[in-house]
């Protein structure tokens, strides 16, 4: 089966009902996408499907055909995406395990809204869990990234 990941077409030999999470991790070695619960309850496995955040642990291969998949590995080559930059600047991660899901959810939010308020951040981020408690910094980093992105548009 052909799928599109991070801008390239890839052929995978896997059953149609295999969750995307395990296709990415075990077949394609794209291990940035993480397993946390396997039931859509933690958000660690979040990837963007045509720009929309989805839980890859409950999204099967058949559902992603003809769609563009973006994983954390495809966000930038050099940590240069404004959300990554903001994450660096505010020193968000602790153990780091949940952060791919956090970052991609934030990217999706900022694609929708250039100036998210607290409520919008809550709505977009509240199902992405972090056991280390990086939430205060995630909130700040999203606002900071939004500012950078807006500045980028003005110039």
């Amino acid at each position: 089966m052909q799928i599109r990941i991070n801008g390239s077409s890839i052929t995978v030999d896997a059953p149609e009902d295999m969750p995307l999470l395990w296709v990415l991790r075990d077949l394609l070695n794209l291990t940035g996408t993480k397993y946390g619960c396997g039931m859509g309850a933690c958000g660690s496995c979040t990837v963007l499907l045509d720009g929309e955040p989805v839980r890859s642990c409950i999204t099967v291969l058949a559902d992603v055909q003809d769609k563009e998949i973006l994983t954390i590995e495809g966000l930038s080559k050099d940590n240069s995406h404004p959300v990554q930059q903001s994450w660096l600047e505010l020193q968000v991660p602790q153990c780091g395990y949940c952060q791919s899901g956090q970052i991609l959810s934030a990217v999706a939010l900022l694609n929708e809204t250039s100036d998210p308020d607290d409520e919008e951040i809550n709505a977009a981020m509240s199902d992405v869990l972090c056991r280390c408690g990086t939430y205060p910094r995630i909130r700040k980093a999203i606002k900071h990234a939004a500012k950078t992105l807006r500045k980028g548009e003005e110039t």
Binding site: L27, A41, I72, S76, C95, G96, M125, G133, P136, I138
Partner: protein
């Protein structure tokens, strides 16, 4: 600068043949009694916890053996060394050292990394600097007193001539460890005390960070395990026929702890596990329940406790009928649930080596476990020749959270048992369900408290009994408060539910009981909880200061009406922390935590931003426990299984936070755990302030509280 004489048992210059050319210095800061693992290192063998390598290309590499689970050792430890070495921070490379059995005991827990490394790492930097200074002075035909070290160079002060370290390392490698070296005074620090960005963060934002589950090896197989859901139960019968029909399932078999499915990928292994039809033999814990355990503890007569601390005559005063305050507090079992579930990858290689990749807080215990397991495999004739110590290699990966769970090595033993059946490497991954149901839990505890007040409403006597399984009275025995008549007792009641260290260990349950009870006494005696603490903490000025700082910043005692403040403080792991919880009432949410103010005194601050990070994380971890999570056991098995029924705090439930760091010149204390204990009592104290009613059982459901 102050002089010191290097302790030969702590430092060793390794010959360059071992690790390439350049100057190589190993260091060992021993380990505390609680971490000692008899037999893991012999008394006179040298076992570095870290190495410094300066090569002739000018790169300075620091190998750190601590486990990185988010608490920052990859940054903090090298900062200490770099400070004395006089190199620029940007020139330092940090690498993780894998466990060589020769290198003795390694464990990361008890917020101990910095406390142990504080002197040794700085001394190591100073020794290396001194050797380089000697080599530099010799090559410039000057006395060492005429030269200085600065930014990776030895400088001849009068002439301004400079030689970079890289040109001196080979000469320096031939010099002995000096008799004497000098350490900076605190005010001379240029790296320590700075919020240096963490070295592990860049790869944690692009998917490159390698956690245990991210190890991928050629031909690797994937395994998962089902444990008997009832603690201590066993397998009666397994029907694996459905599992074996699944394409990609390679094998199904029993090991000591349960049934294993091995497959071509993790998903197939998980599916295979679900398809197993197993009849379990629940064994003697078939009717075990956590509510029964709580009842049993509640009904314990306090006299049954063993006295751990006594002062004055609390018994006489408590029986003489003054104003008596009494409370029983129940705290539930808690799971750790780090976001990365338990896993371990093992490979019995053709050349007889056993290689293990594992996210562990204790590579040494992982090593011991692997050795014991493989030895018993040999004894049972299951495996071919498997020889000496050197045949096991442990590589610690990054940890997707630890919180104490990864001090246990059950998953290592399992991975070894599984891998010995295959030529290929095997990665064992637990499902979240197994992770929640087969943890080593925070204990279920009951504290029985009694206190007496004098006619002015001040506490004059109290008795504290802590009961539970494998518990400790640490932190409250003696209590920090100067109440003239005190008795502390402990009653350990064995039970079948596995127990283990949980972030801040004893401090979590003991702080809640002591600190909430103090407020109950203050409430009964009509005292201000802050004033009462300050008055009773005369011998604990650091805790007093932390209380004052948190209270002032939080606007103590708050404005009556819609917001309510609670305060609590606790010293643990060498640090002193006070927290204020502010509850607010809103139409929409009812009562909710609006803000937490935290003041920490952790002695010399090595990296303020990492301290702040750890306080934020600790507050959220503790709020999860105080507001949400509770493990219950029925019919011998844990009733919760995943995040839907064992929820953790989310971003929209996270209050505002303020962290105040009180810096001083005391030895550095821990930062990973001490932020946890004061939170639950501060929260309960805020509830008491809001409602006049104490919180006798955790977690507390704020939305159910009517005002």
């Amino acid at each position: 600068m102050k002089s010191f004489h290097p302790d030969r048992r702590k430092f060793l210059k390794l010959s360059s043949a071992v690790m390439g050319s350049g100057l190589i210095l190993g260091m060992n800061w021993g380990c505390s009694a609680e971490d000692q693992n008899p037999g893991s290192s012999s008394a006179n063998s040298f076992s570095p916890n870290a190495w410094l390598v300066i090569d002739d290309k000018g790169s300075v590499t620091i190998f750190v053996a601590e486990s990185e689970m988010g608490q920052g050792p990859y940054t903090l430890m090298p900062m200490l060394l770099a400070e004395e070495l006089e190199v620029e921070w940007k020139d330092i490379v940090v690498k993780h050292a894998s466990l060589d059995p020769a290198y003795g005991y390694q464990a990361t827990g008890g917020s101990a990394s910095i406390r142990k490394g504080w002197s040794t790492l700085r001394e190591a930097g100073a020794i290396a600097r001194e050797i380089l200074l000697q080599a530099g002075a010799a090559s410039m035909q000057a006395a060492t007193a005429e030269c200085k070290a600065e930014q990776g160079k030895i400088i001849h002060i009068a002439s301004g001539r400079k030689i970079p370290y890289r040109e001196l390392v080979n000469a320096a490698a031939k010099l002995p460890i000096p008799e004497k070296a000098r350490l900076k005074e605190l005010h001379e620090f240029v790296i320590i005390g700075q919020s240096i960005p963490r070295t592990d963060i860049p790869e944690k934002i692009n998917g490159k960070a390698r956690f245990g589950m991210d190890i991928k090896l050629p031909d690797m197989l994937y395994a998962t395990i089902t444990h008997c859901p009832v603690f201590g139960g066993s397998i009666q019968h397994v029907d694996a026929s459905r599992t074996k029909k699944i394409k990609g399932v390679i094998d199904v078999f029993e090991i000591d702890e349960g049934i294993v499915v091995v497959a071509s990928d993790t998903w197939t292994a998980f599916k295979g596990k679900d398809a197993l039809e197993i009849t379990w033999n629940p064994g003697k814990n078939a009717t075990l329940s956590s509510s029964q355990i709580a009842d049993r503890l509640k009904n314990l007569p306090p006299e049954q406790g063993e006295i751990t601390w006594q002062e004055g005559d609390s018994g006489a005063i408590l029986s003489s009928g003054k104003t008596i305050v009494q409370a029983d507090y129940i705290q539930p079992l808690q799971a750790h649930i780090p976001l990365e579930t338990m896993n371990c990858t093992a490979h019995f290689r053709d050349d007889g080596k056993l290689q293990i990749w594992v996210p562990t807080q204790s590579p040494s215990k992982a090593y011991e476990t692997a050795k014991l397991t493989s030895q018993s495999i040999i004894k049972r004739g299951l495996n071919k020749l498997f020889g000496s110590d050197d045949d096991i290699e442990i590589q610690t990966t990054l940890l997707g959270g630890g919180f104490g769970r990864r001090l246990k090595q059950d998953f290592v033993s399992q991975a070894v048992q599984i891998a010995q059946r295959f030529k290929q490497p095997v990665q064992l991954v637990w499902t979240r369900e197994e992770d929640v149901q087969h943890d080593f839990y925070h204990p279920l505890t009951v504290h029985k408290m009694r206190g007496a007040l004098d006619k002015n409403g001040l506490p004059t006597a109290w008795e504290l009994l802590v009961s539970g399984s494998k518990i400790s009275a640490s932190g409250i025995s003696p209590p920090p408060y100067a109440i003239p008549n005190t008795r502390v007792m402990i009653k350990n009641v064995g039970e079948a539910i596995p127990r283990g260290p949980w972030r801040s260990v004893f401090a979590h349950y003991n702080a809640f009981a002591m600190e909430h009870f103090l407020d109950e006494m203050a409430h009964a005696g009509k005292q201000d909880p802050l004033d009462l603490r300050i008055r009773l903490l005369e011998k604990h000025p650091r805790l007093q200061k932390a209380l004052q700082a948190a209270a002032t910043s939080a606007g103590w005692p708050g404005k009556a009406g819609s917001s309510y403040l609670g305060i609590a403080a606790f010293s643990s792991f060498g640090s002193h922390v006070a927290e204020v919880v502010e509850l607010r009432r809103s139409e929409k949410q009812g009562l909710a935590v609006h803000k937490v103010t935290c003041a920490i005194d952790c002695g010399v601050v090595i990296n303020p931003d990492i301290v702040k990070q750890q306080m934020e994380g600790s507050i959220i971890y503790a709020l999860t426990a105080a507001l949400k999570s509770k493990i219950t056991v029925r019919n011998g098995q844990v009733e919760q299984s995943n995040f839907h029924n064992y929820p953790i705090l989310k971003i929209d439930e996270t209050p505002e936070m303020e962290v105040i760091i009180l810096s001083n010149e005391e030895e550095p204390g821990g930062i990973g755990e001490p932020g946890v204990p004061p939170l639950a009592p501060a929260l309960a104290n805020a509830v008491l302030a809001a409602t006049g009613k104490p919180v006798r059982e955790l977690p507390v459901n704020l939305s159910a509280i009517k005002l």
